[in-house]
Symmetry: C2
Subunit: 209 residues, 2 copies
């Protein structure tokens, strides 16, 4: 109701303003979080504040796949038991974590750092596409799997990369699109349902999960 709040302290106001800049955090929540931290010990508050400063200062992006890492080469790229002939192209770090959590992929990743989105001013040159091409040029890669969001932007990015790189003797694939496991047919959107009929898989394949 009342937008302008009077804070009893500039320091408090400053901290609340900083927290309000976070996505999804309004000034009321920010105040609640700051007052919560204020109740903790000095040590804990220092740990909190420094954890993010240290992360920003010391974080490294893997020189091979651009994933977040503590070392020059990330633990996935540096793992000799992973198949380096298969590369999964993802938008960001969260997608690497999501796919890793499925325990279904044993290849390596390539993090684009975004997807082509003219509205947000992100073009192909803002993404890690050149380094993907270099990897393919160096040989050894057999398959590139696109695992981008199934949105207009994701599809555009898939198509752009495919057009640029399909001159190389590499197989391109994209993660299966269809009905989510556990979905009821009557509630599925028609585009997904329509495509899932057109792109139907053999019954034997469906049993492999």
């Amino acid at each position: 109701m009342i937008k302008e709040r009077t804070y009893p302290s500039k320091l408090l106001e400053n901290a609340v303003n900083e927290f309000s800049k976070l996505p999804g955090i309004g000034s009321k929540t920010a105040l609640r979080l700051v007052l919560h931290l204020l109740k903790q010990s000095n040590e804990e508050v220092n740990l909190f504040g420094n954890s993010i400063i240290k992360l920003k200062d010391e974080i490294i992006y893997c020189k091979s796949c651009h994933n977040i890492s503590d070392t020059e080469t990330c633990s996935i790229c540096g793992n000799p038991s992973r198949d380096d002939s298969t590369i999964c192209v993802v938008e960001n770090i969260k997608d690497v974590m999501a796919i890793e959590n499925t325990h279904q992929f044993n290849g390596k990743y390539h993090v684009l750092g975004g997807i082509i989105s003219p509205i947000d001013g992100i073009g192909p040159s803002d993404l890690n596409i050149a380094s993907l091409e270099q990897k393919i040029q160096a040989g050894n890669i057999k398959e590139v799997i696109f695992a981008l969001s199934t949105t207009m932007e994701g599809d555009t990015t898939n198509f752009y990369i495919y057009k640029k790189l399909n001159k190389y003797p590499v197989e391109f694939s994209t993660i299966a699109r269809g009905v989510s496991i556990g979905d009821e047919i009557e509630y599925i959107d028609e585009i997904t349902l329509g495509r899932s009929i057109v792109n139907r898989m053999t019954f034997e394949m469906s049993l492999s999960r």
Copy 2:
């Protein structure tokens, strides 16, 4: 679904864990906030992290009312145009801010720092009650207004302080309880509605708002 996440970096994991300790922030939200901060400039991340560290290090509690302050005496206690014969007793700093935002109170505050709550292990000795008594003993105070939550704990605290301090020649009052402005009668809980009939006010009083 999957509880244990594998983070590609210890630094990232550490920052996410720190953010997850905040009330109402789960590990997914924490990751989102941390990755958001990671996209900001070094300067902005330093500002963010240091704002809370600086607040914790430098914050002062007003020696008179225990409100948060940048100076030894807070801006409310130090304001000569405010009536220091009326003291409004509140639980915490947020309540001071809420009442200040109404612009309806021109007296001073006394922040208890909590309310009596045996379940949470908070007894009278944990609250700033002794300093309230000293203020009253020093004379000059005419009225003490209780503005605590209308819960069992709030009522207990009101009653405890009242019993302890009613030997002094001071008037004790509590903020009006009744039907919120804008409420529809049929949806009001019966205790509030019942009390609002028993404790009805003159019609002239209701016009004063």
